[in-house]
Symmetry: C2
Subunit: 213 residues, 2 copies
Amino acid sequence: LSDQSTQSESTRDRIIEAARDLFSRQGYAATGISQILRASRARSGSLYHFFPSKEDLLVAVLEKHRTTLEPKVLRQPGGPRPDPVERLFGILDTYRGVLIQTQFTLGCPVGGLALEVSNTYPAVRRSIVQHFETWSTAINRLLTDAAGHLPADVDTIALARHVLATLQGAVMLARAYRSVEPFDQAVQQLRDYFERLIADGSEWSGRAPSSAL
Amino acid sequence: LSDQSTQSESTRDRIIEAARDLFSRQGYAATGISQILRASRARSGSLYHFFPSKEDLLVAVLEKHRTTLEPKVLRQPGGPRPDPVERLFGILDTYRGVLIQTQFTLGCPVGGLALEVSNTYPAVRRSIVQHFETWSTAINRLLTDAAGHLPADVDTIALARHVLATLQGAVMLARAYRSVEPFDQAVQQLRDYFERLIADGSEWSGRAPSSAL
């Protein structure tokens, strides 16, 4: 790369980073162009060059969220825990850490945008769906790894979506309450559900009643 | 009431109704004053008279959502179903109906606002928390009615918050996917959880292992 294109790349990246932060904290519509320019130290010419519309910038922000999802969220820090269900709850714990660290101003950046812009921008909506699919596919992989411990008739795809729904709702409540309590309550009940699934999926309770007597 | 005050009341109501609809569909920040005036057929003088700031209008909208929550959502139409767990899932089904009827443009109006404005407006955030508390208190009441069927150690307050979190996430996914599928998957797994709770809370499995042998 020439110096010129490296510099362009970094301006583009700075704009995306600034927008990502602002959209997450205050929402898409509430974020003004001037705020993005200020936070990214970019000139308006650069902004319009890279992103002809605000919607284009939002799509780039969502693309960035999606590419960082795997290394930053889904791949657990500190090496993989051996148990897939523990890894799943480790992922949920990452969101808990973000909520606490940011004093509940950040949770899942995509969840907020999902509700704000789903009605308005079809291209953005598709990008959000892709993000959710990347997330629940990774969870489904963990559930498939754990399948030997779960009842045979569990629909792991539906269960992965359920985990995503519970997480998103838990993040929403924690942010509204400015407290980790409702997050912990929702995740604790999800864990209780998994414990009951695992108990019911164990060989002991899997036996037919007739052979158990 | 004099004619004058009745008319004021109806102008105020029209403004709240218009804002409620617009905020739900397109978000708070994206809704302009001119749109609210157009939709409510009110003059800007009336708007500023009743609501000195846009935030005041948002608080009034949330108050309206909260007062209609009990009669429109939490009190089931068609008479009370006798089983409290069925009534709970009947409430979730009301949200499913709204999603389908509105082609996924509406779900829970308060959930969207919760993520959009929680960081920005403390008074609004408190109003949203009140809404969620009204909701989960009603669910907790149903769970308390159902307590005889659930394991003795179930924390009904935590479980009510879990139901709320799962619902909010399920609505979010349905709106993003423009499909009822992820909503149904999340609610189906929640139902599976309740079935396992009820099975584990029944007298049969409540027996100590020694007496069962």
